[in-house]
């Protein structure tokens, strides 16, 4: 049974990194959708997509985390809600929905190749490390106040 000590997270891959977002802020998982580019904004903004008649700004996780896109990835959009607004995070592939005891994730911030400020914690899944992303920090420079 879930309790306050259980972490629910959506696990996905961005380039070579296995990442996670807290399930509490994930609203939906969408397939990759054609995006309309927005001129003049940061490169990390993939553009606007049409989600059943509503416009969604999608941020490219590969650019945000400086990861190379893998050819075999189909691509997906993780729809998250940050500060009352909804954004899409473009990822390589969504892997899993995870429930893990909170003590099994450790606060660790020194992963090679990842800005430590973007890492909330590190956990283990199938003998592989995953990074619990600090989505607020990740998006903040891009989406503004």
């Amino acid at each position: 049974m879930a309790n306050s000590k259980t972490l629910h997270a959506v696990i996905f891959r961005i380039g070579a990194l296995i990442c996670a977002a807290p399930a509490g802020i994930v609203r939906e998982i969408l397939p990759r959708l054609p995006a309309t580019r927005i001129p003049g904004v940061a490169e990390a903004i993939e553009g606007l997509v049409n989600v059943r008649g509503t416009l969604l700004t999608v941020l490219d996780g590969h650019v945000l985390l400086q990861q190379a896109r893998r050819a075999e990835d189909e691509g997906a959009i993780v729809l998250v809600e940050v500060g009352g607004r909804r954004y899409g995070l473009g990822v390589g592939q969504v892997l899993d929905f995870l429930e893990v005891p909170e003590q099994s994730v450790a606060e660790r911030a020194d992963l090679p190749g990842v800005d430590p400020r973007l890492v909330r914690a590190v956990g283990l899944r199938d003998d592989q490390h995953f990074i619990l992303l600090d989505i607020n920090r990740l998006f903040e420079p891009i989406i503004g106040a």
Binding site: I38, G40, L48, N50, T54, L55, T57, P141, G144
Partner: protein, 619 residues
């Protein structure tokens, strides 16, 4: 009876009545010898009292009652209304307004004992001074009516179908009729007014010397009266029958949203039908397109509201500002009958408020300064609305001191807003400088404005509405801000243009014409490329360069859209034009650094998102 569900209606109606009160008070204060206003004030306050009592808002009813006492005393004209009385009346209307707003959310403010005492003192003072006179007037009035009650006429009253508290309202109508003479043969009887099947229609006979118009006025003053008929020998004379109902704005919003989606679906169907080359499908697609257009027009028309609804609160505001600032300001409103979409109207109030406060605080000088400058002591602020093509222009002008460009330029140079070498500040640049967040030229921060918030908020809000703003200012002569907003927010007719493989929508409201780019007509205007179109030199903007930083292809015969806002123009050179489409402006969470020429976004007929170009940023 559970009346809580009527709270929203109570609030709407009370706000209308309070707004009327403010207008009447302003008029009356300007001309204290006038007699018209006190009656209107009394009726409005009386209606609020009645509604408040029925809703169980005792604070509202009590305050209205006290105010009514003073108004009644004033109505007898035994004491001339003076400045102190006007101030007390304004204060009471404000307090009543706060009480109304608080009551509907279950937080009636505590009684203002000082105000209650002041009202009582004012009313008692007047009564004490003229006790004999007042009762004499009363006796004469009632007696007079009774004596003249030679004419007996049948009266039929129908309350509005959406009237709340029909029974109470009907009783109020009867009570008002009794103030004119003798009421008899009331059907249904008073006791039935409270029953569930009372439909708001009733009749009686009235013996009174008052004219039909007087009776009509008096009865309608009870509020919610739809029609009054004086029926004689079976001939009905209907006066003032209204065919209107109140609709919750949320319903209209929902309807508009649905119609917006219908428009998108219609566009999509059109694309599918023309690709399928099936005559039956094309026919039904055309028919749906026509029906949707008609429906769209009707919904937009239903949402149109006179701008007066927003502007009417400003005269009171300017009066109070002038008092606080020790200035004399005459405020006029023109064109308050011009209509705008309700949602735009709701959004435009705040920006206008900022500009009005700025005009009163920074624009208009003190009477002494004005006299020294050879101007009339009373400053003037004019707010005018007018219709220009597919948008509405709201102009706020003052005859105050104007903007000191030298001072602003110096400050802008210091803050690095303009190039150090900039010699002069054009109107465009002036607006850009004023609109910088936190930019303020006020030496001292006054209570009214000058905190450096204002023009930037105004510009942001207006642009979010798809509108534009301009400023003209002359030192010593005054400043004029012109805000242009589209008539309706939700659905916009747009021209689709492409550049570097991307599609953009250009609102047709700002498109004057389309021409072909002719390299032989290229000229230079202030170091910028410009196009000569029928003797007019129009600066060019290449869309490809704008959105992709790609070099201009400058192909001969490239389609060129001439944009026009007021007297400013720009020639937008594009790769191709792809026809017109009704587009629905879709909200989206804009990322940081969104360039000013992106005015919004939409979903095109094929389902893909497209950005809307903001003409104001291009001209």
């Amino acid at each position: 009876m559970d009346v809580s569900k009527y709270a929203a209606l109570f609030l709407t109606e009370s706000r209308e009545h309070l707004s009327v009160c403010n207008q009447l008070l302003l008029e009356w204060e300007r001309e204290p010898s006038a007699t018209r206003q006190v009656g209107g004030l009394f009726r409005a306050i009386h209606t609020i009292k009645g509604m408040g009592a029925t809703m169980g808002y005792t604070g509202v009813a009590d305050l209205a009652h006290r105010l009514e006492n003073l108004l009644d005393a004033l109505r007898q004209r035994t004491v001339p209304p003076g400045p102190a009385v006007f101030q007390l009346l304004f204060r009471s209307v404000d307090a009543l307004s706060a009480s109304v707003e608080g009551a509907v959310v279950g937080a009636e403010p505590p009684s203002d004992l000082k105000l209650a005492e002041d009202l009582a003192t004012a009313a008692a003072g007047i009564e004490a001074a003229a006790r004999g006179g007042t009762s004499a007037v009363r006796a004469r009035r009632n007696g007079g009516m009774a004596a003249e009650a030679g004419r007996v006429r049948p009266v039929q009253v129908a309350l509005r179908r959406d009237a709340l508290m029909r029974g109470a309202r009907a009783a109020l109508v009867v009570q008002r009729a009794e103030s004119l003479g003798i009421v008899s043969a009331l059907r249904p009887p008073l006791a039935r007014f409270d029953s569930h099947d009372f439909d708001g229609r009733f009749s009686f006979r009235l013996a009174s010397g008052a004219s039909d118009e007087q009776v009509l006025d008096t009865l309608k003053g009870a509020g919610d009266v739809d029609a009054v008929r004086f029926e004689e020998d079976g001939v009905a004379a209907t006066v003032g029958h209204s065919r209107q109902i109140r609709v919750d704005l949320g319903r209209l919003d929902a309807l508009m949203k649905q119609v917006g989606e219908l428009v998108v679906a219609k566009n999509r169907l059109g694309v599918i039908a023309s690709a399928a080359s099936d005559p039956a499908l094309s026919e039904v697609s055309d028919r749906i397109a026509r029906l949707v257009s008609g429906m769209q027009g009707e919904v937009i028309a239903a949402r149109m509201t006179p701008v007066g609804e927003v502007l009417e609160r400003f005269p009171r505001l300017v009066r109070d500002l002038a008092r606080d600032l020790d200035k004399r300001i005459r405020f006029d409103v023109e064109g308050d009958e011009i209509e705008l979409d309700r949602s735009i109207l709701d959004e435009i109030g705040q920006p206008l408020l900022h500009l009005i406060r700025n005009a009163a605080d920074h624009g208009i000088e003190t009477p002494m300064q004005r006299a020294a400058a050879g101007k009339p002591e009373e400053g003037r602020i004019l707010l005018s609305a007018s219709r220009e093509r597919n948008y509405v222009a709201l102009r706020l002008s003052d005859d105050g001191r104007g903007v000191d460009r030298e001072a602003i330029l110096a400050k802008a140079r210091r803050e690095g807003v303009v190039e150090p070498g900039a010699a002069a500040l054009s109107d465009d640049l002036l607006l850009r400088v004023l609109a910088r967040p936190g930019f303020s030229t006020a030496e001292a921060v006054s209570g009214v404005s000058g905190r450096g918030v204002g023009v930037d908020v105004v510009v942001t809000r207006v642009r979010a509405l798809g509108g534009t703003i301009e400023v003209r200012s002359e030192l010593g002569r005054g400043t004029t801000f012109t805000i242009r907003v589209p008539l309706t927010l939700a659905i916009v007719r747009a021209l689709l243009a492409s550049a570097a493989g991307e599609r953009y929508a250009v609102p047709l409201a700002y498109v004057a014409e389309t021409v072909e780019f002719d390299p032989r007509s290229v000229t230079v205007l202030r170091d910028r490329e410009a196009l000569l179109v029928r003797d007019q030199v129009i600066p060019t903007v290449h869309l490809r360069e704008l959105v992709r930083n790609q070099p201009r292809p400058a192909p001969p015969r490239a389609p060129t859209v001439i944009l026009e806002i007021g007297d400013r123009r720009a020639a937008l050179v594009v790769d191709a034009l792809m026809g017109q489409q009704d587009i629905v402006v879709e909200p989206f969470d804009a990322p940081r650094g969104l360039p000013p020429f992106v005015g919004g976004a939409t979903i095109l007929a094929d389902g893909s998102p497209a950005l809307i170009l903001d003409a104001a940023a291009l001209v």
